[in-house]
């Protein structure tokens, strides 16, 4: 119980009149990697974005380490405990990779520049982009950019990492290098929430899998069970479709 990290309670989210999340109840513990999958428009990104309140939900609550996001008055400081990685990397194009990585540590976490840079080099080493430190995002390959974005998120020394389809915009040969970094991260015990269609990754790396459809969690199982005996027809159909695609 002590390692409960995120607690989602009766969460409802609307975009205008459209209900994107429908009474979500779930929780995530420290040290686990959970994959979220489901068809397009099922609310995967929305759920992820509620966990750091990028999306302002209307009903229910999300507790991060027991702290209510709804009542949180200093959301910026809470967000700096959670790293996020996006489908399209979203590196800041006008800054070098090094500056991309040190920006939030310096201004959100008030680290000194030398400290932030020293840590940035450690992280770049870890994701294998040390040579790119002084280059600008547009000078890197997609895979390098995404690894830089992962380093940027890790620079927050986060307690949780959110990944929203981190490999969907990448060519196949680059997907592997990004997934490898993510796998190592999971092995080291980083808590991770990963929206992805990479079922190979899910199978090999994740501890649990959540399947969503129409704003609801249809099924949540540990990884092995999910693949061996999914109990809902919808999951079965989804798996058939997505595994055929691969």
């Amino acid at each position: 119980m002590s390692n409960l990290l995120v607690d989602v309670r009766e969460l409802n989210l609307w975009y205008g009149k459209y209900k994107a999340l429908d009474n979500i109840n779930t929780s995530f513990t420290a040290g686990k990697c959970v994959v979220i999958c489901g068809p397009s428009g099922s609310g995967k990104s929305s759920l992820l974005r509620c966990v750091n309140r990028l999306e302002e939900f209307q009903e229910g609550d999300v507790l991060f380490e027991g702290q209510s996001l709804r009542e949180c008055t200093n959301i910026a400081s809470l967000r700096s405990e959670i790293g996020m990685v996006f489908q399209h990397f979203e590196l800041y194009p006008h800054m070098s990779i090094l500056d991309n990585i040190t920006l939030a540590p310096r201004y959100a976490k008030k680290k000194s520049k030398p400290d932030a840079e020293a840590h940035a080099y450690v992280l770049m080493e870890r994701v294998g982009i040390t040579d790119q430190a002084l280059k600008y995002p547009a000078e890197l390959s997609g895979g390098q950019q995404q690894r830089a974005a992962i380093a940027r998120a890790l620079a927050l020394e986060p307690k949780l990492m959110l990944f929203d389809e981190p490999t969907s915009a990448l060519d196949p040969e680059m997907i592997v290098e990004v997934l490898r970094v993510m796998r190592d991260l999971a092995m080291e015990g980083m808590a991770m929430l990963v929206v992805t269609h990479e079922m190979g990754f899910a199978r090999e790396v994740s501890d649990e899998i959540i399947f969503m459809d129409e704003g609801k969690i249809i099924e949540r199982k540990n990884t092995e069970d999910f693949f061996s005996n999914p109990n809902s027809k919808r999951v079965q159909d989804f798996l058939d479709r997505i595994l055929v695609k691969i």
Partner: protein, 239 residues
Amino acid sequence: MALNYDFEWGLLLENPHKEWIIEGLAHTVGLSLTAWVIALIIGILIGTIRMTQSPLLRFIGTAYVEFFRNIPLLVQLFIWFFVFPLMLPNDLMFAWNRLPHVPLITALLALSLFTAARVAEHIRAGISSIPKGQFDAARSSGLTQVQMYRHVIIPYAFRVMIPTITSEFLTVFKNSALTLTIGVAEITGAAKAIEAWSFHGIEAYTVASVTYMTTTAIVVLFMSWLEHRLRIPGLIARK
């Protein structure tokens, strides 16, 4: 008549003409540059608050832009020059009138605030053109609104907007000629004075035109140098 015109270019180097020209040059260039810089600062501020989530700030921003953009500059000059001092409390009004160079200060005020409204509109368009994911990235990393705009959004928007900002200088620079109407001795005013004094209008207005053209050329060169320096490596140069 033009055929009988006696060109006397040397006249321009004689006093009082020379003094007028030097003073006019200094006023035109100084006034425009200062107004431009002030307009950039205020414009970035107003343009940015129009993009925030606060309804009050957005209202203030919109009100500012609509007010200053929709009244002709000439009218604004007259308002600042004739009406504004009257609206001050008595002791402030006397203090205002005792200021040295009231026309110049008024001109600076009017030009800056007018141009700031235009800059604010450009900034708003610039910020709207920034991918939403940039905001997500900045917010999710724990930056506050102010930090996000200061380090991510505005520097990004600024680079996109350098050509627009340059053309705003050309506008404020040419608009500065209007300030002769409230008695600022800028270069067009100087040309007018020389023409009245010596009947050598062609030479006088040539000097004014050359002033506008060379200053413009210098600023355009400087800005393209700046654009090149701030160019984001790896991105294909925008036309």
